[in-house]
Symmetry: C2
């Protein structure tokens, strides 16, 4: 694995349109990176990959750990991973997701046309996460699945955030802006990060990425998907 190249399987608009039945085995995804996020077949939960281990965070609040050991054949319809070697490490506090975004931008200036990969470790407060609970039928759109998403809030949680920032011109292929998944240190809670703050110092590590390896699916769902970019829908479900 070459460090700090982004491997992405499929495009976000395909998920938005409900193409989530087919994919590649998790083991294939993990051969391209040790740090990342994604989802599972039929949108059954949120994926986080850190230190080479993958976790499935489900809408019932449970987390299936270390998928790479026994579930490497699990089908993944969308994922972004990299072999993470941060170029900067800083301790920060932040008030909100926007404040966090601003602090990342300050740490890696003039990267608005590049991708960023980052990780934050520490104690987070006023944490809101959501987890999607799966399609009720094939091709159900992510927007509709998202309407039934479970949301959990935690006053305080020690854990890790794994994130990618994609440039604005990538909206639809991935999520323009910051896309973050969180997991607790005990690996028992987590999901797609909707809100959080850090009033005590947390450790932010980040790097800019200039190379993307994008693999498009060949299956019928993807071939027939309407991949028009749905800005509002992406903002609603991934923002």
């Amino acid at each position: 694995m070459v460090p700090n190249e982004l491997y992405q399987y499929s495009v976000l608009s395909a998920l938005m349109s409900g193409a989530a039945t087919s994919g590649v085995p998790l083991s294939h995804i993990l051969s391209h990176g040790n740090h990342g996020l994604g989802t599972f077949q039929r949108l059954e939960g949120e994926m986080i990959v850190l230190d080479g281990s993958a976790y499935q965070m489900k809408s019932d609040g449970s987390v299936i750990p270390n998928l790479e050991r026994d579930h490497g054949d699990q089908i993944i319809p969308f994922a972004m991973v990299t072999c993470f070697q941060p170029s900067v490490t800083e301790t920060i506090i932040f008030d909100s997701k926007q404040d966090l975004a601003d602090k990342i931008s300050a740490l890696l200036p003039r990267t608005q046309n590049h991708f960023l990969a980052f990780r934050i470790d520490g104690v987070f407060e006023q944490v809101g996460v959501r987890t999607v609970g799966g399609q009720l039928s094939p091709h159900e759109s992510l927007t509709d699945v998202g309407k039934r998403q479970a949301t959990h809030t935690f006053p305080s949680i020690r854990g890790s955030i794994i994130g990618f920032r994609s440039p604005a011109y990538f909206q639809g292929i991935s999520v323009a802006g910051d896309h973050m998944h969180l997991i607790s240190e005990d690996r028992k809670f987590g999901g797609h990060l909707q809100a959080c703050r850090a009033t005590e110092q947390v450790t932010l590590r980040a790097v800019a990425i200039q190379r993307l390896d994008l693999q498009l699916p060949k299956d019928d769902d993807f071939r027939d998907a309407n991949l028009g970019v749905d800005d509002e829908g992406i903002q609603a479900v991934e923002g």
Copy 2:
């Protein structure tokens, strides 16, 4: 080189915004493919790559051949190349660029969400090509450079067309739809293809591409470029 993977350096919106001073050596581009198209530093002409050879088609009508021999260090700010192994070969006639597009679609059905690479060899009629003549100043936009482009028409010309089709959701990163450059068999004329037809059988070879290797520039021009997608501008200058 793995066959039928698309390597792209930079994004079209960067060219649109005038970021065309920096880039990578031509030899780097050619290490990723034997079939492709692009442009040159300061938008000085149109690039075509076929059978591993690169040509610079200039606005004065001249063509510099076999750049790989003596000009491998020439700076390329944007290019798309692949190691071309067609999956289909057909002889066709066509009335217009749109008719050609329809015939390619019929030959590779259900590929609207994938990339295509293709090549057409034979005698073309009512050919219109344009060549951009270079920036008058750094950062002059492709739209403005395009306003001074040279256009040449040929009643009939034997030659080759090298093309890529990009899916609609890639507009701005590349040219959504078909992007074609043409060169004459004697390698003395060519440019960006604006119009043509074929009333005698020509040979079309094509393949679908599901993997993209996208390299983003790191230079200041790219970092600071406004990469908002300019649909109308792209259509005007690359359509």
